[in-house]
């Protein structure tokens, strides 16, 4: 703190302090002049010069040197109280003092100046760094806002598309049927088809709403599960039945390990997860391809259920993101993927995690391209022996 206060002094005060330092030291040493040799006195005065130049700069150092030279000569070199010098030893001591005082004063002043400059540069760098950091923070906030806006727009587009597409089929069917009344121009088969389309599209809208509610429940931690010991075989069978329409002509091969343990799960929810995987596998693979479902027990009392397809596959860099909600909306044009809102896998992940399980995607094996793997905690109970099953859907 003392140093800081000294720093705040103006130049005249610094110079006066330097002069006072020399005079005070000279006065203090004067009574002991008989016991001191000129070298000891000159070293003591040099200390003051060094202090003055390092604390107050080179000008103060120079002034301290000049006063020091005068005092040294006047008080400490015989004949005393004159500016004459007698004896070669004293002359050498005086000369050495003059040179040393001037050089040491200038050097320490220079060092101080450099230190100050370096400090200034340091604080300038710190200021620039802070400004840069603030600018980066502002930019990243702006970027986050922009991305959030982008996401909202994409989401709105996707919701619009997913709601309006079934509505279009319904409205076009209904208006055709209404027109049919005045006078009738449709045959029975056409009427039946329009009604079927309306029925299917209503289911599609309902599914869309259920998905939105599902993700909202997962996010609100409000998923109510009715967990009990459940057979994987039953879950898989139910999921295949539900996905039959999207599976179409694709073959579904099911391999369930003998004596597979039951899982402790909400059967309807896990069946929903398997259905989502199956539905996606069908949606993204060729019409005549094969989908393979396997279930086996794994380490740590887990059961692994995997669904493999022969579609185009998922690029490695996207695998981390496909379980994010609205992933398709954010990363790709949803209309171009033919997928839904990108909620299916997010809901699946939510359900599996509620069961203390995990879901991952990896490369397929044995001729398959993509493999989704579910790991769910199993029970200790063992199923009664059941043969491997192979089904063609």
């Amino acid at each position: 703190m003392g140093f800081l206060r000294l720093e705040k002094l103006n130049r005249t005060a610094k110079n006066l302090l330097s002069i006072a330092g020399i005079i005070l030291l000279s006065a203090a040493l004067l009574p002991f002049r008989q016991h001191l040799n000129p070298t000891e006195v000159s070293l003591a005065l040099l200390l003051v010069v060094l202090f003055a130049s390092s604390l107050f700069g080179s000008i103060a150092g120079l002034i301290a040197s000049a006063i020091g030279i005068v005092c040294f000569n006047f008080f400490f070199l015989p004949p005393f109280y004159t500016f004459n010098i007698t004896g070669s030893e004293n002359l050498v001591a005086f000369g050495a003092f003059v040179v040393t005082a001037l050089i040491a004063g200038q050097l320490s002043g220079y060092a101080k100046r450099r230190a100050e400059e370096s400090e200034q540069r340091q604080s300038e760098i710190e200021r620039l760094y802070d400004e840069l950091k603030a600018a980066f923070e502002q930019a990243s906030e702006a970027e986050a806002v922009r991305r959030s806006e982008q996401l909202k727009t994409a989401l709105l587009d996707a919701v619009t598309h997913d709601l309006r597409t079934p509505l279009t089929s319904i409205k076009a069917s209904v208006t055709t049927l209404l027109e049919d009344a005045k006078p009738a121009f449709l045959d029975g088969k056409s009427r039946q088809e329009f009604l079927e389309i309306i029925d299917e599209e209503c289911d599609r809208l309902n599914e869309f709403i259920e998905n939105m509610v599902g993700i909202a429940k997962i996010e609100a931690n409000a998923l109510s599960l009715n967990r009990k010991l459940t057979s994987v075989e039953e879950i898989v069978g139910h999921a295949i039945e539900r996905a039959r329409a999207s599976i179409g002509k694709r073959s579904v091969v099911v391999e369930i390990q003998d004596d597979l343990p039951y899982i402790f799960a909400d059967a309807a929810s896990i069946s929903e997860v398997v259905f989502t995987l199956l539905d996606n596998a069908a949606k993204y693979s060729p019409a005549e391809s094969t989908i393979m479902i396997t279930a086996r027990s794994a380490a740590d009392d887990h059961v692994m259920i995997s669904v493999q397809d022969q579609g185009k596959g998922i690029p490695a860099e996207m695998r981390d993101k496909i379980f994010d909600k609205f992933f398709q909306v954010e990363e790709q044009n949803i209309h171009r993927t033919g997928g839904g809102l990108g909620l299916g896998l997010a809901i699946a992940k939510g359900i599996v995690e509620f069961h203390d399980g995990s879901i991952e995607v990896e490369d397929g094996v044995e001729g398959f391209v993509t493999k989704f793997v579910l790991a769910l905690p199993s029970s200790d109970r063992r199923k009664a022996a059941s043969p491997n099953e192979e089904a063609k859907a």
Binding site: T160, R164, S169, A172, S190, I197, E200, G338
Partner: protein, 228 residues
């Protein structure tokens, strides 16, 4: 012989409805689930009209319009969901004649289909007379009459009306009208167009505030309806 309509949409249920419904109205309908197969079918089927969705995998509706326009002048109606104004404009600039916003009633689509099929081929630009409904324009002496009454138009107003009448029934985008009448550098200056359309309406419409000949297509452009 029934008119042939090609429907291109990646939504299976929509092609299903349109095939059934247009078929019930005695049109010969073929459907395609993407732009690529739509263009293949266009070459084999020789349709009289194409209805295409805008958002499709691989080849978009805009690209489909562009490809068809390279070889044919048949009417194209694009289907789109709301909120795609920019895409609609692009499609119209790429050669589409009309657009219908999803969800639509079949009556609306059928009316657009009938209007587009009635339009027929473009008028011969070398012909000196335009006679469309209530409108008569003589390109050689720049005379115009509407509902039998002669009116005076400035040269630019005349040029604008002639172009719209030659493309009656079609949705003409702001940039297409500006580019045609004022040249390529003015395609963004829609305020020019608004002023001229306003003046034209004052001269030809019975009630300019409720136009029946020059109809505004919000955020897209204008359409000329010749009247009876």
């Amino acid at each position: 012989m029934p008119k042939r309509i090609l429907v291109i949409d990646d939504e299976y249920q929509i092609t299903r409805v349109l095939k059934r419904s247009l078929g019930a109205h005695r049109y010969d309908v073929r459907t395609a689930a993407d732009g690529e197969s739509g263009l293949d079918l266009f070459r084999d089927f020789h349709p009289d009209l194409v209805i295409t969705d805008l958002s499709m995998p691989e080849l978009s509706g805009i690209e489909v319009c562009r490809e068809i326009r390279r070889v044919s002048d048949i009417p194209i109606i694009v289907l789109s969901v709301r909120g795609e104004e920019q895409t609609k404009v692009e499609a119209l600039d790429a050669g589409a004649d009309d657009y219908v916003t999803k969800p639509f009633g079949m009556n609306e689509l059928l009316a657009r289909v009938r209007a587009s099929l009635r339009r027929g081929p473009d008028l011969d630009e070398a012909s000196s007379m335009i006679e469309q409904g209530d409108l008569r324009m003589d390109l050689s002496d720049h005379s115009v009459s509407i509902r039998g009454k002669s009116i005076r138009l400035t040269p630019k107003e005349f040029e604008l009306l002639a172009f719209m009448a030659q493309n009656h029934g079609r949705v003409l985008t702001h940039s297409r009208l500006l580019g045609k009448v004022w040249g390529g550098d003015h395609t963004e200056q829609t305020e020019y167009l608004r002023v001229f359309i306003g003046n034209l309406r004052k001269k030809i419409e019975p009630t300019p505030s409720r136009p029946r000949y020059i109809v505004t297509e919000p955020w897209i452009g204008y359409r000329f309806i010749p009247g009876s």
